[in-house]
Symmetry: C2
Subunit: 398 residues, 2 copies
C-alpha cells in the first residue's frame, strides 16, 4: 500500500513527464488510495539497451517505491508484428527464437532498475497467443483506416508512397488490447507512443473498463545534448558498457545536460535536486555533482566497487596526462567540425597548418585518444582536446 | 474428364464474360486437358437469391457439364467480416446462427442449377476457423494499405471521410487465401469482385502456387434492361418466386433484354442461340422465343408442370382480359413516368384529364392490375397498359 497522500505523490508522478492524458483522471485514480496497476510495454526487438531506454524504467522504480504495482509487459507477441511507430519502412518480423532470446536479455537488464519483488513480468503472447483469426478480425473492426492514417508516421509514409503493410495497422490494436487484458490503470510510454497509448484507452472503453491514463516520458537527449540518444547516432551510453566507459562518457556531458539526466535518470529525490541546483548557484563545482551522477548510474548497472574503481581510474588518467581538473568549457557552433578547425577555434593552435603538423607528430588527443587522421570530424558533443603536454581545452560542439 | 478440345471449350468459357485475367493462361490451363478446379465463392449474407445471382451458377453448370470440378465456396468465415465491395458503409457483422441458416438456404437454392454430384461444397471456416490471430497477422503482412486504397470503393469512402473499419482490409486477404487453401485453377466472380479475385492470384504466388485465372461475369440487368438487377431497385426476379410471377415477369422483358438473358441465364448452346437469332431475322415472333426462355427458367426453379401451368394461366389471363397476343412495343423516354402521362404518350387517352377520369372509373390496368392512384409513377421497364376493355398498348419506359 501507498503511504503518501495523493498531493505528495502527484509531483513524483509528474517528474520529467512530457504529457499526461488526462491529469484530472490521474488525480482521481490517486485519490482511490490503492496500488495502481501501471503498465509499461517493451517489444523485445532491441536487446541492447541504452540509458534512453531506462527513462521509463527509472520512473517505474520511483512509483514502485511508492507502493504501486508495476506490470512489465514483454511484447513477445507484438514483436512478431514490429512496432511501426516512427518507422519509415515496414519492420522485419523477428523469429520466435530471437524474440525469446531478446526477452531474456530484457529481464536481466531491467532488474538492474526495477525491484523484482514488486514487478509482475507479463508476456502478451499469454492472451494474444490464444486468440483466433476470427477474434483478431473482431479486434480489427474496432478501429478505422482514417484513424490509423491520422498518425504522423503512417500518414507520411502513405503520402510519400512508402508502403505500409496491413499488419502494421494491427499493431496499435493488439497493443491497446494488452491494456484490456492487463486491466491497466496507467500506461507509460515515450511521447512517440501517444497514438498507441490512446488506443489502449479506446479499447478499454469498448470492453467496458475505466480507461487508463497515459503518461508520456520525453525522449532522452544523447551525449551531444541535442539529438535523442540512439545507437545509430553514436551518442549513447549502453547499460552494458564497461564501468570506466560509462563513467567517462557521463563525465563528458555538458553541465546543462547533467541536470536533464538527473531529472530523468537519477533516483535522487526532487527535494534533493533543488538543494543541488542551489549549491551550484552558490558556487559549488558542477563537476562534483556530475561525479555523483556518474557514481549513481555506474553503481546501478555494475556495482559500488566498480564505480569507485572507474572514478579512481578516471582521475589518475587525467592526472597522468596532466589534464587540469577545472577546465573551462568552450562552446563551438557547427557540428560536425573538422579536428583542425576545432583546435583553432579552441585557441590551442594558431593555424590549420600548425594543427596538421601537431597531428602528424602524434601530439593531438581527443578525450585522451591520440588522433591519427587529419581529416577527422567531431560530431556534436563535449570533448577534451589536448595539444602537446600542456595545452588543454574542454569544448562543446553544437 | 473433359471430352472437348481446348479450342471447343474456350468459347464456352468465354460466353457472356466481361473479363478474363489473363486469357493466355486460361488457354494454357485448358491445354492441360484435366478437370480444372473452379472456385466460386458466395457469402451467405443474402439468402434471397434472384436471377442476377445465378449468372455465375449458370456458367459453372455449363463448365461442370464439360467435366470440370466446381468448388462451391460458402464463405461462412468471411461472412463474419462482410464483403466491403461496393459498399459505402461498414457492413454489420452477422451472427453465426444467421450465417448457418443462410448457408443452408444457399445449398438448397444452388442445386437447382448445379449438379450436386459434380460439386464440392466447401466452407472457409474449415481452414480459417483453425487459424490463430498470429497467422491472421502474417496474412495481413502480405499486402499494403496503398494497395487496398487503390480500390474504388475504399478510395471513395476514404476521400469522402466515410469510415472504413480496419477489418474490412482483411476481407480481401482472407478471400484470397481461400484460393490458396482450395488450390483453385480458376476463380469466378462478378466484375465488382476484380480486386478480390486478383488478391487470390497474388496470395497463391506468395504461397508458391500457380496463380488462378480470374473470370468475371457482368452484372445482370434487371427487368428495366438498364440498371443491374437488385432487390432494392424492385427490378428483380427472385428464384423462389411463384411460377406464374416468374413467368409473367420474364414475358414482360423487352426483346433486346431477352437475348441478354439467353446469353447469361439459359443452358441453350451457343450454336442453338445463333439459330434462334437467325429465325427472328427471318420473321419468327420474338414472343415465342421468350416463351421458351420463360419455360426453361420456370422449369429450372420449379418444375416442368409448374411451367406449363404458368404458361397456360398467362395465356388465359391475356385472353380473358382480351389482351391481343401481338401487341406492338412502344418505347417511351424518361423514367419514372406518371401513369397519366404514359397513357397519353402511348396514345390510349387524348388528355391527362381523360386519363384521370378513366382511372377514377376503374378503367385503367397496368399488367392486368387495376390502378387506383392517379399519381402512380411507372419506373423503367416494360408494361402492358389497358384502358377500358379494348384499348391496349405495350410500352417500354427507358
Amino acid at each position: 500500500m501507498t503511504h503518501l497522500s495523493w498531493e505528495s505523490q502527484l509531483p513524483i508522478f509528474k517528474r520529467g513527464l512530457s504529457e499526461i492524458l488526462p491529469e484530472s483522471e490521474l488525480i482521481e485514480k490517486l485519490k482511490l488510495n490503492r496500488p495502481l496497476r501501471i503498465k509499461a510495454g517493451f517489444d523485445p526487438t532491441a536487446p541492447d539497451l541504452h540509458l534512453g531506454h531506462t527513462v521509463i524504467l527509472t520512473k517505474l522504480r520511483q512509483l514502485q517505491d511508492l507502493g504501486h504495482e508495476i506490470l512489465f509487459l514483454i511484447g513477445d507477441f507484438t514483436a512478431m508484428i514490429g512496432d511501426p511507430t516512427g518507422k519509415n519502412v515496414t519492420r522485419k518480423i523477428l523469429s520466435p527464437e530471437a524474440i525469446a532470446e531478446n526477452a531474456q536479455t530484457y529481464r536481466t537488464q531491467v532488474f538492474k532498475i526495477l525491484d523484482p519483488e514488486k514487478t509482475q513480468v507479463m508476456f502478451n503472447s499469454e492472451w494474444m497467443g490464444k486468440k483466433s483469426a476470427g477474434e483478431m478480425i473482431g479486434l480489427a473492426s474496432l478501429s478505422t483506416v482514417a484513424r490509423m492514417l491520422e498518425r504522423d508516421d503512417f500518414s507520411k509514409r502513405y503520402q510519400s508512397g512508402q508502403s505500409i503493410a496491413i499488419h502494421e495497422f494491427l499493431y496499435p490494436l493488439v497493443q491497446g488490447y494488452d491494456s484490456v487484458a492487463m486491466r491497466a490503470d496507467i500506461e507509460f510510454g515515450g511521447t512517440d507512443q501517444k497514438f498507441n497509448l490512446l488506443m489502449g484507452r479506446e479499447l478499454q472503453k469498448e470492453f467496458g473498463q475505466t480507461p487508463q491514463i497515459c503518461l508520456m516520458t520525453p525522449l532522452l537527449e544523447g551525449l551531444d545534448g541535442v539529438q535523442k540518444m540512439s545507437k545509430s547516432l553514436g551518442n549513447y551510453i549502453g547499460i552494458s558498457e564497461a564501468p570506466s566507459e560509462m563513467y567517462g562518457k557521463l563525465m563528458s556531458i555538458s553541465d546543462e545536460l547533467m541536470w536533464r539526466y538527473y531529472e530523468l535518470l537519477s533516483f535522487c529525490s526532487l527535494d534533493a535536486l533543488v538543494v543541488l541546483k542551489q549549491s551550484v548557484k552558490e558556487g559549488a563545482n558542477p563537476r562534483d555533482i556530475k561525479i555523483d551522477l556518474a557514481m549513481e548510474l555506474v553503481t546501478r548497472f555494475h556495482s559500488k566497487e566498480a564505480a569507485e574503481k572507474a572514478k579512481a581510474d578516471f582521475i589518475s588518467r587525467f592526472s597522468e596526462q596532466g589534464i587540469p581538473e577545472d577546465l573551462p568549457e568552450i562552446e563551438l557552433i557547427g557540428a560536425p567540425k573538422g579536428i583542425a578547425q576545432a583546435l583553432k577555434e579552441a585557441g590551442l593552435v594558431a593555424s590549420s597548418s600548425e594543427a596538421y603538423r601537431m597531428i602528424e607528430q602524434g601530439g593531438v588527443r581527443v578525450d585522451s585518444e591520440k588522433i591519427q587522421d587529419k581529416t577527422q570530424q567531431l560530431l556534436s558533443g563535449t570533448f577534451i582536446l589536448q595539444v602537446g603536454k600542456r595545452r588543454f581545452s574542454k569544448i562543446t560542439i553544437k
